[in-house]
Symmetry: C2
Subunit: 586 residues, 2 copies
């Protein structure tokens, strides 16, 4: 929010006829209120838009040469952790694409580090030029029995609810908890309501009376719509629908038919989860704008969904439009359809040019952040296994099988060959893989073992990752115990990350020491490392082309998506919602 | 705002399968989010909309017989005082027309009674079913030299700014004060900004750079647009434009061409000033809806401007739409074009039927309100004149002449006949009228005298009124001194109001003891009295048909509208912004 003292300063300067900081001439200015572009000048002073005068004297005058001038974009719902970059580095990556504000739910880091994880995101983001608003994660841990790094109650969240950068409660995934009126769930909803803050939703396939109740409970957004019908059903109830375009989920185009002159006010853009490698390839919210235009949306309408609509939905005043009293955060682009800005301004400063981040942020010593950064980098509390033996005397096992392009799995009952002691034997089960999930928050030594169908690929080695939704224990898969154990050690050594081991050698690795989820390296370095991991996965391990080498593994530990998942406590059958054995007894 | 404890109660009742309070079946429900009507049922419990189930058991089921079901309407800007009814009585008048929420600026009563006047409006409104939100008057007095009843600084307003029913700062009429950055004006703007509240505007004919500065200062609405260009210029700057349809100002139809699929979000309806007699004849905001539809606006768009748009513009959550978690305030109407509701529900209760207010409000003893009511009814602190002699030895006088259908006046220099002592003589100046404005707040005995052109009418008597914008001193006009003095006495005797005297007799009168502006009588009684006044004005006094007998007089004391006005300090020439004499010296 712009402080009024600043506005008064600005007014005084103008009254005193001092030259303003910046005037942009000859721009096609996007007017999100009138729904049109108009040719004109834009006057900026002390980070704020002060008007459209073409003659106001300015210290710097930029000729826009008829380029489009748009407000910077908003990501209405993002887990920054999915980029694998800390907020300040994420900022450097997305700002050149025109993103100026994100509404982030630090659900992943909160599962690792609880309130300190959220505090780290808040403080670290302040070292960047990106405006990072936070929704407090509502479901940590994701399930009561999960071995996560933290457990956040309403009382815990209350500590941060009044922070000026906290907009409300993050996606309420516990829909049954809302409908059954679970006391701990209601406490969190009540907390947000008490502070008059937003409650984000997450309600795939919730309809009719259940949706009424979910809305009644105070939830006002949903980013999980995949059909036009779902979108319209939510808009009818006054909910905001976030059209998602991320790494795995591509819902935007499917949902566009729900957007019309009336419903558009309730439609926003978000990425939810997008890896840094995808962002660098396709862009960020500008990619959503481009896609929408490509599929028939009027440019100004696409811009509205990327800007003012989100600002309004989340109560962010003086943001999301080009008008006096608004934050001077905007971009210039020649081609509105491509929407690749050649200049991005944040608070009146040029911060990115031709896709390159060029700003330097003056940092002041922040003792709180220093301490949080230390804390957050100490997240590998493991007791690594020495033995990955799986005992299957019945010779019939439950095997996890990935479904193509999906987070769903199938429980496949397979005959397996065992050695003389009844233990799973790689040499007799061509292509079948072992998996393990190792608890890493409280050194419990808990480890779950399972089998993964050969379709995944992974020949002659192992992959381990400390990203594993939602509790982020270490997942490892491989075709021999030695490489698997080494991969676990490598991940631990890096303080978290992804490691690929083959025949005792590290083929590729990515260090993610920030909670085992993120890096504080420059985006380009992380992107290069991650790209190398993907290259190895494809060319060396021949990972299935209908799966993502790492994300598929990461979601195998999430015991809410059917059918069969693996946790530190063992295999979990999501269809019966019970733990189960690998070995099938006749 | 709906308290979350209530939501939890409701959710619990539904979970326990208790029958809900009310279900409306077979309605054509206005969906302001999707911009369409849909056939369905509406479920209501404990004053809140809980969903659209057609089967949920209910204690009461109403068959809407295919009637339209709309959210109750919002008046985005109203001076309740102009209705001449206290808020609780105003509520009884407007609710049957479907109005459920008003955003009121108690500018008039504040000029009489300051903070106590505002407090009275807040407390008195709580005794009604109308949701009355308050904007704190920003310009009391209207001009620094005015003889008003109060002087409200930012420090004074700070006492009320955090009241839960106060939404911000009322119309900032002092545009020069904003542009020149008057310290006292900026303090008020800063106060609103500090509390993150709305600042209403009032900016007729302000354009370009001035408008930029006015917007930069934080003003976000304007209800003074009279042309499409003005409206669009404001919308481009992110301001909300209030399409006004009141007693005197009829801007709505002229402004409709500014409303389109994009701009509509920034367009709202308001009345500003509307007398009770006009409301009873033509309706309230439903009249605006009707007019808009009649002039080509789609019914759902007219409804949006009357409901959700205002709720959103003023940050009123859970209001202005028919959806779960929203306040159950709605109406049923058979004919959407006529928009005369046959049933109005507020918070789930049927409160008006077929234009009749049928609710009873349970009142609890409110000591604060009692005291405020006493204070507010003690507003006639006058020292009445005994002599209205006007000395014009030069025999040439400045005469106030009304312009047709306008608040503007003309200063006419006329030759006048005087008696032997040089005093104005009625008998020799056929039709010419005397006027006086008598200070009534602080018993100063100040009295301004003037002459009014014969065109106004008023034969054989006098009219006096304690409504006179903005300071609300007593204005009297007449064709003889005796009736004028009697009229003043009569107004004082009533504790404020309007009196018509002819040949020593009271022909008609309306008692307005609440600050000399409003009545606490039933609307029908006030309407009958006021109607009688108008009948006498027309049939007995033959008042000019291009003027409003009472409003024209009331505005003759407002020294901001050109050319010539009368104040307790004498004639004021608005064009030179200086006091002037009646007598013109050669």
């Amino acid at each position: 929010m712009i402080k009024y003292a600043k506005i008064q300063d600005i007014m005084q300067d103008i009254k005193n006829n001092l030259p303003i900081d910046l005037r942009i001439d000859n721009a096609q200015i996007a007017d999100v209120f009138s729904g049109e572009f108009f040719s004109g000048s834009l006057c900026v002073h002390k980070g704020v838009i002060v008007g459209f005068s073409k003659t106001m004297p300015a210290q710097k005058v930029v000729d826009a040469k008829n380029a489009y001038l748009l407000p910077t974009f908003f990501d209405a719902h993002v887990h920054i952790e999915s980029s694998m970059l800390s907020p300040d580095k994420f900022a450097e990556l997305v700002i050149p694409f025109g993103t100026g504000t994100v509404i982030a739910d630090p659900h992943e880091i909160a599962n690792v580090k609880g309130l300190d994880g959220i505090r780290f995101m808040l403080e670290n983001a302040k070292e960047s030029l990106l405006d990072v608003k936070i929704m407090l994660p509502s479901c940590v841990p994701a399930l009561p029995f999960e071995y996560a790094g933290a457990n956040l109650s309403a009382l815990d969240l209350a500590e941060l609810m009044n922070d000026e950068n906290v907009l409300g409660l993050g996606e309420m995934m516990n829909v049954p908890g809302v409908l059954m009126q679970d006391e701990k769930v209601l406490e969190k909803l009540e907390l947000a309501a008490k502070y008059n803050k937003i409650i984000d939703g997450h309600a795939p396939m919730v309809h009719g009376d259940d949706l009424d109740m979910y809305r009644l409970a105070g939830v006002s957004t949903d980013h999980e719509c995949t059909t036009v019908e779902e979108a319209l059903e939510r808009i009818r109830r006054g909910m905001y629908v976030l059209l998602r375009e991320g790494s795995a989920a591509h819902d935007l185009v499917n949902l566009l038919p729900a957007v019309n002159a009336h419903t558009i006010s309730n439609c926003l853009f978000c990425t939810d989860d997008k890896q840094c490698t995808d962002i660098i390839k396709r862009g960020h919210i500008n990619n959503s704008v481009r896609l929408a235009i490509e599929h028939g949306t009027a440019p100004i309408d696409a811009i509205r969904m990327a800007t003012i609509n989100t600002a309004r939905a989340y109560g962010l005043t003086h943001k999301g439009a080009i008008a006096p009293s608004y934050e001077a955060s905007f971009m210039l682009t020649q081609d509105i359809k491509e929407c690749n800005p050649h200049a991005v301004y944040i608070n009146g400063e040029l911060v990115a040019e031709n896709g390159k981040y060029i700003a330097t942020v003056t940092k002041t010593y922040n003792a709180k952040l220093e301490q949080l950064t230390d804390t957050i980098q100490d997240s590998m509390h493991t007791e690594l296994p020495k033995d990955l033996t799986i005992h299957i005397p019945s010779k019939k096992a439950r095997v996890i099988r990935l479904l193509p392009h999906s987070l769903l799995t199938k429980c496949e009952i397979m005959d397996v060959a065992v050695d003389s002691e009844g233990n799973f034997d790689f040499s007799q089960n061509k292509g079948l893989l072992k998996m393990a999930v190792v608890e890493r928050h409280k050194k419990t030594g808990k480890i779950g073992l399972g089998l993964l169908h050969a379709e995944y690929g992974l020949q002659g080695g192992a992959i381990a990752t400390s990203i594993s939704h939602d509790s982020h224990n270490i997942v490892v898969a491989g075709d021999n115990d030695e490489d698997m154990l080494l991969a676990l050690q490598e991940v631990e050594k890096m303080g978290g990350g992804i490691a690929m081991i083959s025949k005792g050698e590290v083929l590729a690795s990515l260090s993610l020491p920030v909670g085992g989820l993120m890096s504080m390296q420059e985006p380009q370095a992380v992107i290069a490392d991650l790209q190398k991991l993907y290259d190895v996965a494809k060319n060396h391990y021949h990972i299935w082309d209908k799966a993502d080498a790492f994300m598929s593994l990461s979601f195998l530990a999430l015991p809410v998506i059917p059918d069969l998942k693996l946790t530190p406590q063992g295999l979990f059958d999501v269809t019966t919602f019970q733990f189960t054995d690998i070995a099938v007894q006749e």
